[in-house]
Point group: C2
Chain length 420, copies 2
């Protein structure tokens, strides 16, 4: 019997071979593969739902929460949405092959920097089984092979979905190994993947702190993380308070459970009272719990509770907002740099110079002037799709879409040039 | 007494603070800092040469090879070259602040993708003390703070050079902590750096396999490696053999000890005899040892020795060339993908279709058609400087210059947009 190491290594070998074929496959053929994958998700829907029912039964037996069960559950509608998602990716533009820059050296050598697939992408995720399809097809679109490692609670669903994608790929003439799934639920499999830098070019972990910590400590290859969003909004002295209220309410309440929702509100001393009387009351009316510093608590009285230092470092993912009064934009920037997670932060002001200072000095993936932080999203950026939102600085930062699933190489065309 | 961990952590904290100042420093002021650094290298030349003499005495006592001693040795000329190198970097264009792309969404939100410094760059190197200056000033130019960790044999020289750079920075109003050196030679310091992802945004190791292996296994942050160059040239059936000879001789002999020199030669069956009669004899005449497969040895007789399989996976860095006969371009690509190091590989042919297939299918940082592999170099690419040649695929691939020492962020400018 083969060891876990051998099993993962064999997946790596097969993925690398598939990646080499995918890298020279035309956009048209890749798109046909995607459409065939979508068809197979529909045609194989019965088997997928049956496998999902098995996962659900096990999960109920294991006492998973209702919220977890809902994330795990597939039905006809969710399956159709999954297939539609694949067809949408087929319609997007393929970045592979694009020339990023081309120039000619004095010796006549022509240098082209061209966009190419990364190779083999490892996706490690814990959440809903639709990630299996969503992540895999973005990789296929960009000519990458994928090794997927999902959560143990959705293993049956993931296997059925991956099998359907693989059948679709093969039917359209792409390698069946374009999409591979780690079929063991052994937790050591993640470490084996992390060690396999020969075959895995990058790992994208999507999940909780524990998973990300495991990957970061063990990975020998680049990791692109999708971590906390401790996002802040700063309402400046020169803010239009009506606009500020609209933006803060949207950033906090529209979907509090996501990474680009705001968790910290910084108010310039001169507008604190004014904002809290309007926007503050509106937030409270919408069920938001305000955890304020001393000034905020003095202004709001019983309507707020005192914030602990930890509240300003917390991603609540809930209707809770930590609020602090600051003396100027410099103090706001300082707070964000010290406490934030470099994800999405914004300023609301009518003063352009102050805004530009904030946009320059806040070292976050996305920085906003007079808009809600909720726009940090591949779709909202116009990228058509996203594999996640990177909180890393290198290679991919912010919304990670098709372009971030590619890299580049240099092609040099000469006529016998040698170096003198 | 502070522990090693505390010492490295304190360097990290200081570097992060310096990086935040550097990130908002104008190109002009950074350039003034660079010029002051160059001046200090000259003004402090006596102290640097004295420290270097100390390193040399210790190294001689420890029995270092003549070649190693030569790499370690500084003199007036080398010091002047170092200072001139810094002044050249001051003259280059600063990529920071450049707008990579700007677009407006249907809701009026304006999105700008702008180039920003990475933050804090860790450089771990083993070789010549001039790396201290060369690497640090490229980071300063791009608004990054640097933590340098050099080899123990050059610790005195490195400290004197780093002190001069730091004085120059401070004199021109940049943070003195823009350039920091790890002053302990404790080998565990590298592991402490690798663990410090809070303060170090990227590590660039430059050195032998042992060093790179340590960094790759321990680093929690991105690593950009500068590894082997097992470069190959393929002489196709339709090659101009005169051009092929010129290119192969240049790629092998012009400077055999560097990573972009050719180590493997693949000959199409139909030109093997012709090439070896001309180019083969020329190589041998220049002192190149040919290690050939069976066909090559049959053609060259005693002038070649048989290649072992290992020879085709070896970076000789010497006047040795592994030579193999292949049946077509597909076999050549296959060999390179299986044996090469994805650094620099080339084809020599008059057939454009064959060349384009090679340029597409070989998955190397730089791929050549009818030119010497020796052009893989930041200077030869027109980048003005390079910090090394990356054999990694993500963030930086191939010659790594100023642009690769930056990343990007998104700035979004709105007028009150909220998400519906």
């Amino acid at each position: 019997m083969s060891t876990l190491h051998d099993q993962i290594f064999e997946l790596g070998r097969r993925a690398r071979a598939a990646a080499r074929v995918l890298a020279r496959t035309s956009s048209e053929q890749k798109n046909q593969g995607l459409l065939a994958m979508a068809d197979e998700l529909v045609a194989g829907g019965g088997a997928i739902l049956e496998a999902n029912a098995g996962d659900l039964a096990r999960a109920e037996g294991a006492g998973l929460s209702r919220a977890m069960l809902d994330r795990l559950r597939l039905d006809e509608g969710r399956l159709r949405a999954m297939a539609d998602g694949v067809r949408e990716v087929a319609r997007l533009e393929d970045p592979v092959g694009g020339v990023i820059r081309r120039w000619t050296r004095p010796n006549g050598l022509e240098i082209s920097k061209v966009r190419v697939p990364i190779g083999v992408v490892g996706i490690i995720y814990e959440s809903r089984p639709n990630v299996t399809s969503d992540a895999a097809v973005l990789c296929t679109k960009t000519g990458n092979a994928t090794i997927l490692r999902g959560g143990s609670e959705s293993i049956g669903s993931n296997m059925a979905i991956a099998a359907a994608l693989s059948r679709g790929a093969a039917r359209a003439g792409l390698p069946a190994d374009s999409v591979l799934l780690v079929e063991t639920t052994d937790r050591e499999a993640v470490k084996e993947m992390c060690a396999m830098d020969r075959f895995l070019d990058v790992i994208v972990p999507r999940g909780g702190r524990g998973l990300i910590e495991t990957v970061v400590s063990h990975a020998r290859m680049p990791v692109i993380k999708h971590y906390d969003g401790i996002c802040a909004l700063y309402v400046d002295a020169e803010a239009d308070l009506g606009m500020a209220e609209k933006i803060v309410v949207n950033a906090k309440c529209q979907r509090p459970g996501v990474c680009n929702a705001v968790e910290t509100l910084l108010l310039h001393r001169s507008v604190a009272e004014g904002f809290l009387a309007g926007g503050g009351r509106e937030l409270i009316g919408r069920g938001v719990e305000i955890r304020g510093d001393e000034t905020v608590c003095r202004i709001l009285g019983d309507a707020a509770r005192p914030a602990s230092p930890e509240d300003f470092r917390t991603e609540f993912l809930d209707l809770i907002l930590a609020v602090k009064v600051v003396g100027d934009v410099g103090e706001a920037v300082e707070h964000i740099e010290e406490h934030g997670s470099h994800h999405s932060d914004g300023i609301i002001t009518a003063n352009e110079a102050v805004a530009e200072r904030f946009l320059q000095e806040v070292d976050s993936a996305t920085v906003y002037w007079n808009a809600s932080t909720r726009f940090t999203d591949g779709g909202e950026f116009g990228f058509g799709a996203e594999i996640g939102i990177s909180t890393d600085k290198l290679h991919a930062r912010g919304p990670m879409a098709l372009e971030e699933l590619t890299t580049y190489k240099y092609q040099l065309r000469g006529s016998g040039q040698i170096r003198g």
